[in-house]
Amino acid sequence: MANDPEKHVQTILLVEDETEMATEILAELETRGYLVRHASIAEAADAARVGAAAMMIMDRIVFGEDSLVTLEALRKEGVKVPVLVISALSSVDEKVKGLKAGGDDYLTKPFAMVELAARVEAMLRRLVDVRTTKLRVGDLEMDLIEKTVHRGDAKIDLLPREFRLLEYFLRHPGRVITRAMLLQEVWQYHFSLETNVVDVHISNLRKKIDNKGVPSLIVNIRGAGFMLNANA
């Protein structure tokens, strides 16, 4: 993934007062080829104002101050930089607060680094998302208006949920997608599950979209989730 050229021009600003956590996040994102700058909240806000950041990762509480205040101020000024809020405050109310203040996503601590990386990827991807009526990966094509899916010439019948699941993958090709992201984005379920329902849904979807004898379009990423193979 580090060879993706588009990543190298994007600076991610990291606002985090816990040094160890910051070091880990920096290391994780840098190995994935991002340019990350560890900044104070004031520096980050200034950089965001002049458009010098592709996105911002913001700890909810920095040195005892609620960083949502700064975020709200930035949003009022019309600064549109995508912001991922990370926080140990995990209740639904806190998440809602974070999103209301202008956060684009909210991740609660502790989280797996792959989860963070996946969110960052999805968020940067959102930027280049264009309004399109057709999504395509290899010979798999989805028509968003007709609500149809074709693999080569063969029409694939999908249930509405399967269609939305596949659409999410097609909108994020080549990106790691976690189970939590799918639950949240496809089903709008904001709680964690102790069962492997999501895996069953993926496996059902695979059965419908994959051709026999060729590797699956959706691959498992161990310890993280799934990825739609963009080069298929």
Binding site: D93, E194, V197
Partner: protein, 449 residues
Amino acid sequence: MLEFFRSSAVRVALAFVLVTTAATTAIFGLVYFQIGEANEARNRLILETEAATSVNRSVDELRTAFEVRLTNDLRRIDYAALFDADHKFMFGNVDALPAIPVDGKSHFIAAAHVPGSVDRLEPAIFVVRQRPDGTVMLLGRSLLETLAYGRIVQRALVAGLAPMLLLALGIGAYFARRSSRRLTAIHDTIARIMKGDTDLRLPIGSGRDPIDKISRDVNLMLDEIVRLLVQLKGVGDNIAHDLRSPLAVVHAQLERGLESSSDEQLRSVVKQALAHIDKATLTVAALLRLADVEYGPKSRNFQQIDLSAICADLFEFYEPLAESKSIKMTLETQSPVQILGDSDLMREAVSNLIGNAIKFTPENGTVSISVIREDGLPVVRVRDSGIGVEPGERDKIFQRFYRTSSGHRVPGSGLGLSIAAAIANLHELDLRFTDNNPGAVFEMVGRRR
């Protein structure tokens, strides 16, 4: 004593006494003033009229009239005298003309010598008039009566005020002592509560005065604070309890890893350690979630939600999982079953029940979900043909972390049912277990009010 005067009741009583005294004194003063004024005005009129009508009488007639008048004046309040043209005394009971104009009008003299006495001085009104024969006639009347009225009024004032003052002070003292006793009791109770006696509550008296009202509010507040304290401690204990064992395991594993001779071995140890840490993290998240549901703000934004729609949604979500285990899953809804609630929370609760049912039901079993109204009460029922719950364990399954002996091999935090129960409770539903022979029935039933 100082304490006594600081008491608000005593201060109020004193202020009341002061105001009453002032008001009463003012009323008495007004009465006195009005009576005195009226008396004086009447005397002035009488004297002036008499002086005018006596002008035409002869000196002898006057002498007789004066004698009769002064003889009959037992109270010694009348003054009458005649002086010649040179203002020399002729007869009567006043031997010298006072220093007032000779104009037939009444004049006030603050200290007139009382006839027949040596040095008694009294306020009086005098009229001095020139007669046609040149003589000067003096008529006067003491204002002693008015003074007497004043003294009566004063006595009445004292006689009336004194008992009233005493009464007010007494009542004030009584209430002050009563309220200070109660305040002291409250103060002592608060001190003991602050020292850690959190089961104590403020004493409540007969029940209707402000102190009782405030005490009741404070007691409610204490209940809430104690509840939060208990939950905080509970959450802390639970987290500590549930982190200790995975930490110990991870510790042991990592130690073993240090001893390992090959990279392969080390990797496997690290993987196991990571898995344990992940599990601990999940448990902490579940515990915090439970605490959030159980003790979070009670005033959530509840809206009308449809249990049927929520179950239909989850049915569709879980169906593939059931199919993968060849479990026959059915849904019976009686759309719509509306309740006031939070759809995210409700989804989580029902998701836990359905997830459990599938988890604990072996292949080729059945899971049936029904959403109905029974006797007007909303019911969500999840029935399975799984392993069920042993009779001895039925009252424990809703406890935190409890994993049934037979369910131990199935992964899970052991908090799912606790969270579901907490969410049900928040929606005024009861989560109950009944036997399905074989299998389990978990149902959330609305409470009858």
